[in-house]
Symmetry: C2
């Protein structure tokens, strides 16, 4: 069996880890590798697929496959498998809990008071009275919703299709989205990028958030209408935005987000794929393909995730 | 039965809550109330005790009783009972977890990168490789140590006397303190203020922390040698200090802490006593005193907590 790895980063770490889990495989590296049975890729060049005519399956190193689906040469008859968790859910929970606690405990208010030299204690709030909204209830969003609910926050979740999560108030569809937005003091985005979700957070939807809400995007930059978010931040209707992802990355040097006082930027690090966990997951799925067993995480190209 | 409440704040809320839990009691308010059986106090004037010759027990509204023990007229033969938790542990966990996540996920580094307009992703770390030190393993410190350990952080705890907490590496005594300090990327203080703990974090002990550590004080300002901490912050050996308590409160307007870039100030709000929970606790203990039963939280004046 031949496996080819084609990623811009950590190729050697992947080769080593995959060789350990699949000692029977010949492992190749890069865009000009010989035709292989399985490919593990992250943003491969378009010409990669011309040299891979006999792939049995294609593994994406990320949870989001939007950039892969946008490659015109992507073979449509080969199963595309996205990463499922691989250490990412834990990291998303860390980031989400950090922002939820920061907002819940009024840390931005205390930072502003300190900058003004003001000693200004505020009364305590209860977690159960503080609603965190979660858009997207897949592997990552679902795990975050569960963790925040277990910590005691009031959690409202939204997904395209109906979903049930213990301890989480869930909604779906257009009307359900408005209901979740209206309650969310902190709004967390975990939606996949599809034609349906691009700019889903536009001016009208941001206006439905309670005044002073915080918007957190750990998924894809394209989910947000940047001009509308900046306008809502300027007005103060959205108090803060915590952004890890952007329509263009690295975020261009002249983008207003860099220096807006209400914007907190991290450079697409909310959840990094753990090579050790991810390579074990890929090796397990390759064995399942070989044995003709069911494999999780296969992308529906029509749905886009 | 007569109960007197003497606090600077929320006296009416206390009267109402206590009346609900102890309908049989006559409840009085303020420093000039008639002699009573039980007193519930927070920073009463020294003359308060001259008018209360027949107290059976005295309840402190806070977990720390250092300011009460410093009152010369405090009757030494009346049991002094400190607040046990009363909603405070949950709030301490929130604050501690917020700072631990903030430091673990390098948020201060990303804030500095953003201010400089730099897109600079750093590699991920694992919680188990990140040590959080907890000084003081009483009701509050113990609960925080347990919660951080359950979340997956490596937790090292220290107390004066030996203590065991599942999942927490505990040390005690002078040598044990140095061992905990040497490993603590984030150091959380939950010690009571006593003659033994005043300025326990002096220049020598701060120097034992790993370079770039964060110091968090949610207990009493007097635990820290402020000049030594500022010097360690200026050198960068301590990267950040998160301070909720100060030797003088409100923190004086000309204190260097206010505008030091490494210092985060909150105005003694880390854990506020919840009147509903605390009044139920006091009422229960009054019933136990009346029934001659054992009561938890009685202060040992020699020990100071």
């Amino acid at each position: 069996m031949d496996v080819v790895i084609c990623t811009a980063v950590v190729q050697d770490a992947w080769r080593e880890a995959l060789a350990e889990h699949l000692p029977e495989a010949r492992i190749h590296i890069g865009a000009d590798a010989p035709p292989s049975d399985y490919a593990v890729v992250w943003k491969p060049p378009a010409e990669f697929f011309a040299r891979q005519p006999r792939l049995k399956a294609l593994f994406s190193l990320g949870a989001g496959v939007d950039s892969l689906l946008a490659i015109p040469t992507l073979p449509r008859d080969v199963p595309l498998v996205r990463m499922e968790d691989a250490g990412m859910a834990d990291q998303m929970v860390e980031y989400a809990l950090y922002v939820a606690l920061r907002e819940f405990r009024r840390m931005p208010e205390y930072e502003a008071a300190q900058a003004a030299g003001r000693w200004a204690p505020r009364h305590a709030r209860t977690r159960g009275g503080f609603t965190v909204g979660v858009l997207g209830l897949g592997v990552l969003g679902g795990e975050v919703a569960r963790a925040l609910s277990a910590f005691g926050f009031d959690v409202a979740g939204w997904s395209r299709a109906p979903k049930t999560i213990d301890g989480v108030h869930t909604e779906h569809g257009e009307a359900g989205l408005d209901a979740v937005l209206a309650r969310s003091r902190v709004l967390l985005c975990f939606l996949p990028r599809t034609p349906h979700t691009e700019r889903i957070l536009d001016a009208a939807r941001l206006a439905r958030l309670p005044a002073g809400a915080a918007v957190v995007n750990l998924a894809r930059g394209e989910l947000i209408d940047d001009a509308a978010l900046l306008e809502a931040l300027d007005r103060g209707h959205v108090a803060r935005a915590y952004l890890d992802v952007f329509a263009q990355e690295p975020l261009p040097a002249d983008h207003r987000y860099w220096h807006h006082p209400g914007v907190h930027i991290t450079p697409h690090v909310a959840a990094l794929t753990d090579v050790a966990i991810a390579s074990a997951q890929v090796a397990d799925k390759i064995r399942r393909f070989e044995a003709g067993e069911a494999v999780g995480g296969i992308v529906d190209p029509g749905r886009g995730y």
